[in-house]
Symmetry: C2
Subunit: 158 residues, 2 copies
């Protein structure tokens, strides 16, 4: 193709500027949420595969651990830590109450719901999953690399 002294704007722009890149190409190529959600699915599968024999979902593990470490803790405070909606917690915890991994603590402090603690059964379960969790953690680390792991672990305060 010959050069006539006129360069269409979309081709004159460097990729960095991207004003003329279609929204489809932009989202497909750059959407941070899309990557985060895909990563979430990939990692969830890795941990779920390891935890399946114990009847514990990967998502439940992190909830159980917060209760075990911080409890007795109210739903609202779990939600603040994990960025989880209270309504989600009501439902997710119901399953874990049914399974006997956590229990409500009667304290007489606040009638608007009882704080939660881990049970002996829940603590036993956590003590059993150690090797499996570490295997998953190792695979996850290999998948995302050192930078990925450092980034995720550094997210804490945010």
């Amino acid at each position: 193709m010959q050069y006539y002294g006129y360069v269409p704007r979309k081709y004159a722009l460097t990729n960095f500027m991207q004003q003329d890149k279609s929204i489809i190409d932009q989202v497909a190529g750059e959407c941070l949420l899309g990557r985060a959600r895909k990563l979430n699915r990939m990692l969830t599968r890795i941990y779920d595969d390891q935890l399946r024999p114990f009847g514990l979902k990967a998502s439940q593990l992190n909830l159980l651990v917060v209760v075990a470490k911080i409890g007795p803790i109210r739903r609202i405070d779990i939600g603040k830590r994990l960025h989880l909606d209270p309504s989600t917690l009501t439902r997710n915890l119901k399953i874990m109450l049914t399974n006997g991994w956590v229990e409500e603590i009667v304290s007489g402090e606040d009638g608007r719901g009882l704080p939660l603690s881990v049970t002996a059964k829940g603590r036993d379960l956590l003590n059993q999953i150690g090797p499996s969790w570490r295997k998953a953690q190792h695979r996850a680390q290999q998948l995302i690399g050192d930078e990925g792991a450092a980034f995720l672990l550094g997210l804490d305060g945010k």
Copy 2:
């Protein structure tokens, strides 16, 4: 406390080794999945807030964009790209078919389901959400920083 020449093993170990850290402390402090899931929730909220006026969920956006960019494309191939289970795609796409954003293309190639393409309505929707998506993308970038964004965008092949 006096020093008697004996240091309990758990305190003699540096944090790096962690052999004696309880599983609770390990998962609470290091679980990559926990961070990834929390990040996912935080980012999803950012994009959902921006896209809500358009009746489009953040999760649907990335699906729509793949169909728009690559389509006609079969469910199985969408799944490979986005690491999504086929059964999830059947259900998620049903909503988008109902909304008229995508359509099935009759090609006579393979009777095991028809590939999907974006509709004019779907393309219009994508053209409308540009500024809102960019706003969310900007906030997400601010939240996770340059390193975080570079990491997520570099995940592609994996």
